[in-house]
Amino acid sequence: MNSEIEPRLDKLLAGMDDVRVKLIRPRRIRIDVPSESLPTLLELLQGKASYVHLSAISCVDWIDNGEFELVYHVWSYESQSLVSAHTRIPRDPGVYLSIYDLYQPAAFFERDIHEMYGVFFEGSPDMEKFILTEWDGPPPMRKEFNSEEFVNQNFTWEEYRPEWLEEIEAEGGGIVKPASHARR
């Protein structure tokens, strides 16, 4: 059954010139699609090919190319296959369309991506902060945000010297810090 999925999807998407369908392994299909065609693609997949379950939306920050990659993973309970639709949007301004009308679970993933990467999804029901309620810095999952640098700038390191450690150190043991990890 699985070998038939690829030709079936090719037939379904015949009208869309800009998509590329590739069978990665049994039950896993990759589709590359330009951002303007993604909503149409998902509508076709959901309406005509029974991909009714949105498993996840993943965001990858390709900072060197100035792009965000959005990956929509949809599963079909009927053909038992998972399609990962890959699309790319410019990092700046980082605005895209919500697919909440098609898939309600998108609301969670879009809100999460907005919070962590700063991508705004037009039409998403809730773009309020969720996890980082008291955070007013840049979206932290972006590649330019360096956690260790942030910590060094905003906090001071404290010496941690409990008695038991001193005892161990007196015997020649202790916490070993490789040169590359030395903080100061």
């Binding site: 996840a56 679970p105 609301a107």
Partner: protein, 380 residues
């Protein structure tokens, strides 16, 4: 107070008030909060509030070696950590073109099912406590502890075992382990009758849980519900059977379903799955002695391991539902991106928010525990 006993006094314009349910509340699973607006004790609006245990797992993983992340991933779900390890290991294997040896695959199945039993015992123990029945929760925790003893013997760790590595598992079973596991399975099976009498067939529980938090199959599909919660609406979908991984296609088991879609049905599905996990483990203990070979494939020096560039999406069935990892490598010694799709990211947020509306305040805890939500999967 029950709605019928409530006499409103003059405090116009309404008798609605807002209530913070959590983050410190016995009726909340983990560090999580729920802001509800109630009229009397009926919930009018509900809003999930996460972020109380945010450790930034996904960001941390980008800064650690592939092998170091194995110590991090199980911490995303405390009650059921094994699927996290297996799913992550499978993703790395996928990127490297590695295949875990057959014996390792059987050992992983064994460990996954042991973890599922432990998680389910914990889950319905917790649910019982939300309905005011404490004995099942003590029994559940005590019996789970026996399973943790086996984990300790097998892996050295009781809760976080970190037994899986990309390419297989860390070591083989100790001598006599399979016999001890088999006798534990006999014991757990014998306990089911006690659990039935005390909990699953107890009218105190049945009357309390029936028709509460009802989820129809259409709604469940629309809201992205997976796992036991989906099967409680009558849809027989299980990643183990329908998108098989490891050696699940060689194992006989039934996909347990119920029709009710309510708190009761969700618990009965878990009870059925406990039995099925025992059945799977019996097959594993019978087959494992005949399967010879190494327990892990050779891997490069893990401290200088450059995983080939690529991306993969791997899924497993955890005790809570569909768990998936999207992993991207650019050929470096650390992942470029790891995205964790935990089942609770649906169950604990959108589904819970919607099921709570119209429910009574006293049932919120019950609904949350019946969905078996795990907040760290939201706060990754």
């Amino acid at each position: 107070m029950r709605a019928e006993n409530y006499e409103s006094i003059s405090h116009p314009p309404s008798n609605e008030f807002e209530l913070n349910f959590g983050p410190n509340h016995p009726g909340i699973e983990g560090n999580y909060a729920f802001r509800v607006k109630v009229n009397g004790d009926q919930v009018l609006e509900a809003k999930a509030d996460a972020g109380y245990l945010h450790r930034g797992f996904e960001k941390l993983m980008e800064g650690r070696l592939w092998i170091q992340n194995l110590a991090l991933v199980p911490r995303i779900c405390v009650p059921d950590p094994v699927p996290m390890e297996v799913c992550y290991s499978q993703a790395v294997e996928d990127l490297c073109g590695l295949q875990a040896p057959e014996r390792a695959q059987w050992l992983r199945v064994m460990q996954l099912e042991m973890s599922r039993i432990a998680a389910h015992l914990f889950a319905f123990g917790g649910h019982a406590a939300t309905t005011g029945m404490y004995t099942p929760s003590f029994w559940g925790v005590a019996d789970r502890d026996l399973m943790l003893d086996r984990f300790e013997e097998l892996t050295g760790g009781r809760v976080y075992s970190i037994y899986n590595i990309p390419g297989g598992v860390r070591r083989d079973v100790p001598d006599g382990f399979l016999d001890r596991l088999a006798s534990l399975l006999d014991y757990l099976e014998s306990r089911l009758a006690d659990y039935d009498n005390l909990f699953f067939r107890n009218q105190v529980f049945i009357r309390r849980a029936r028709d509460i938090g009802v989820l129809t199959q259409a709604k469940a599909l629309k809201w992205g519900v997976t796992g036991p919660n989906l099967r409680a609406t009558g849809l027989a979908f299980d990643v183990r059977r329908d998108d098989p991984y490891l050696v699940y296609d060689q194992i006989e088991f039934d996909v347990v379903t119920e029709e009710g879609g309510d708190c009761l049905a969700r618990n009965l599905v878990r009870r059925g799955e406990l039995q099925q996990s025992i059945r799977i483990l019996r097959q594993v203990t019978a087959r494992l002695p005949d399967i010879e070979g190494p327990v892990r494939a050779p891997i490069p020096n893990p401290l200088a391991w450059n995983v080939p560039a690529g991306e993969t999406y791997t899924r497993v069935e955890s005790s809570k539902g569909e768990l998936a990892y999207y992993v991207v490598s650019t050929g470096g010694d650390k992942p470029y991106r790891v995205h964790v799709r935990g089942p609770s990211s649906m169950h604990a947020v959108q589904v819970l928010e919607k099921l709570a509306i119209g429910a009574r305040l006293e049932d919120i805890a019950q609904i949350m525990f019946s969905l078996d939500a795990c907040p760290p999967e939201v706060d990754r």
